[in-house]
Amino acid sequence: MSGQLPGPVLAVSGLQAYYRTAAFGVKREVRAVDNVSFAIEANEIYGLAGESSSGKTTLIKTIANAIQPPLQVLGGSVMLDLSGRRLDIHAIDARELAAIRWKHLSYIMQGSMNVLNPVRRVRHSFVDFAFRHIGTPMPQFLQLVRDHLQRLHLTPDVLEAYPHQLSGGMRQRVTIALATVCRPELIIADEPTTALDVVVQKSVLAMIHEIQRELRSSILFVTHDMSVHANLSDRLGIMYAGRLVEEGRTADVFRQPRHPYTAHLIASLPRMGDAAAKQGLAGAPPNLADPPPGCRFHPRCPRASDICRQQTPIMQWHTPSHRAACFHPVGEPAA
């Protein structure tokens, strides 16, 4: 794994993924991902934040090429760099895709029960997912899995357990072990700790962080919980209504948010030891079948002006690593 060529592991550019339906002559188009571009470097945890219906899940599906109608990719590309081998995930055939999935690109999902087969022992899940990618005889494979579990401070006994015999936190740890056993270059984590308790959440996050630093994989970490991003992500992208509105190093985004939406999200976070009144944000996220013209945040934005209602803001670099799509960024005088 060492000696990797520098260059992004994942490069998404100008991605447009819409849901298109035509029922009873009524055509509908939901612009779930609209012109999103970003890159994830090697050995990096890239956090993606956004509320429900901001297009996070659609973006993940498109990156993993798990596209089913009515979802369509209308433009843009998703390039993967797998240890020097560059490929466009939408241009490869099903065989190649199957060879890449899990070996080079794996997932940690929110519901561990959806990953582990509920009627078979955990060992079978490891065999189903990883055996063909590892390519060693079965005894060596199981030894490798046991070593991997031990590295994650899990007892190899879990292999002989049924999923229902494990607690929720333990199950999620097993799915993390499952997602990392092939040492993939890129791991997509979709709200992996949202269903867990606070106490368990912290140790599961610690585990993700530890294994990432050891394998030097890149992680696309998706959650709406800003506190998780603050503690885990190296860089952070904020999505609103299908568009990426801000991106930067996590510390920079938290310290000096540029987009008013980000600024609000961070200011409204409840903190221990702070009972000062917090303001809610008026309005509701837009309907993506009929998004507002111009900047999609303008109906809720305290800084909106005429230009925001007419034109779509493009990403502006504020520092070499921090960009935001706003005509009147926070920190500059409003029009």
């Binding site: 429900s52 959440q201 962080h209 709406h224 919980d225 506190s227 503690n231 938290f254 702070d274 917090k278």
Partner: protein, 287 residues
């Protein structure tokens, strides 16, 4: 002297273990609390899943009967309420707000029907105009209006709006107590603060006491007057919310507090995750 609004007196609720098992599981194991009449407050119950907080809420709502102990509302034992009349009178006074508004409302039914049905059954209103007025008043107290909601289906409203409608529905019968079980955990981040502020506002403006059940210590700190921390069915610590959370005494309360992720970015990414990991593994009941 007036009877307390709500008295939970050493309640226990046990469930049978799995099929063929003789073991009985105590979901709630000897919890007591009391809320005074005429002193509206937000009383928070926190704990991880499986700590019994939802079972306790269901007992307070009269949906589950305690295996031992008693729950008295305004001095009357809940499980002595035999007649429909007495039961209805209790339901008028104590109303629930559930976690996920998209599950609380039938997706095929217009949301205003819930408001009208509650006005008819709980508030005993008869005429269409007075029913609409009551619904409008309740919606206005949560920052909506009947004009915005009339004829809408749940999917046409955002999670935050729908949760407001759920709270408005609960307010129609002018209750003295709301039992809100994780009312913001399914709500989007940008809308969460306004729902939490609404609860605080209802206490101050309408004098409603609220039992707020959550696992989120940060919002608990933000709105609560008093707090009760539960672990495996038992109350491990209780008292003034700020005092308890600023200086928790019980090891489990300390663990909970230590597990709260601060939204401040640490100097090196992941730094805060590593500290305290060892202590956690020793205390966790089953992880």
């Amino acid at each position: 002297m007036k009877a307390p609004l709500l008295e939970v007196d050493d309640v226990v609720r046990t469930y049978k273990g799995s099929f063929l098992s003789r073991r009985r599981v105590a979901a709630v194991d000897g919890v007591s609390l009391s809320l005074e009449t005429g002193q509206p407050e937000i009383f928070t119950i926190v704990g991880e899943s499986g700590s019994g907080k939802t079972t306790l809420a269901r007992m307070i709502l009269g949906m589950v009967s305690p295996s031992a102990g008693a729950i008295r509302f305004q001095g009357v034992d809940l499980f002595a309420l035999r007649s429909r009349r007495a039961r209805l009178r209790f339901m008028k006074q104590v109303q629930p707000v559930f976690q996920n508004p998209f599950e609380a409302f039938n997706p095929m039914k217009r949301v205003d029907r819930y408001l009208f049905a509650t006005a008819r059954r709980m508030a005993g209103l008869r005429h269409a105009a007075t029913i609409a007025d009551a619904a409008d008043d309740a919606l206005k107290s949560v920052g909506l209006s009947l004009a915005e909601v009339r004829g809408r289906f749940p999917h046409e409203l955002s999670g935050g709006q729908l949760q407001r409608v759920a709270i408005a529905r609960a307010l129609i019968s002018k209750p003295a107590l709301l039992v809100a079980d994780e009312p913001v955990s399914m709500i989007d981040a940008s809308l969460r603060a306004s729902i939490v502020n609404l609860l605080r506002d209802l206490r101050d403006r309408m004098g409603v006491s609220i039992i707020y059940i959550t696992h989120d210590l940060a919002t608990a700190y933000y709105i609560s007057d008093r707090i009760l921390i539960m672990q495996r069915g038992r109350a491990v610590e209780t008292g003034d919310a700020r005092a308890v959370l600023d200086n928790p005494q019980h090891p489990y309360s300390r663990l909970l507090k230590a597990s709260v992720l601060s939204p401040d970015v640490p100097s090196t990414p992941g730094a805060r995750l590593r500290t305290g990991q060892q202590t956690q593994q020793g205390v966790l009941p089953h992880a």
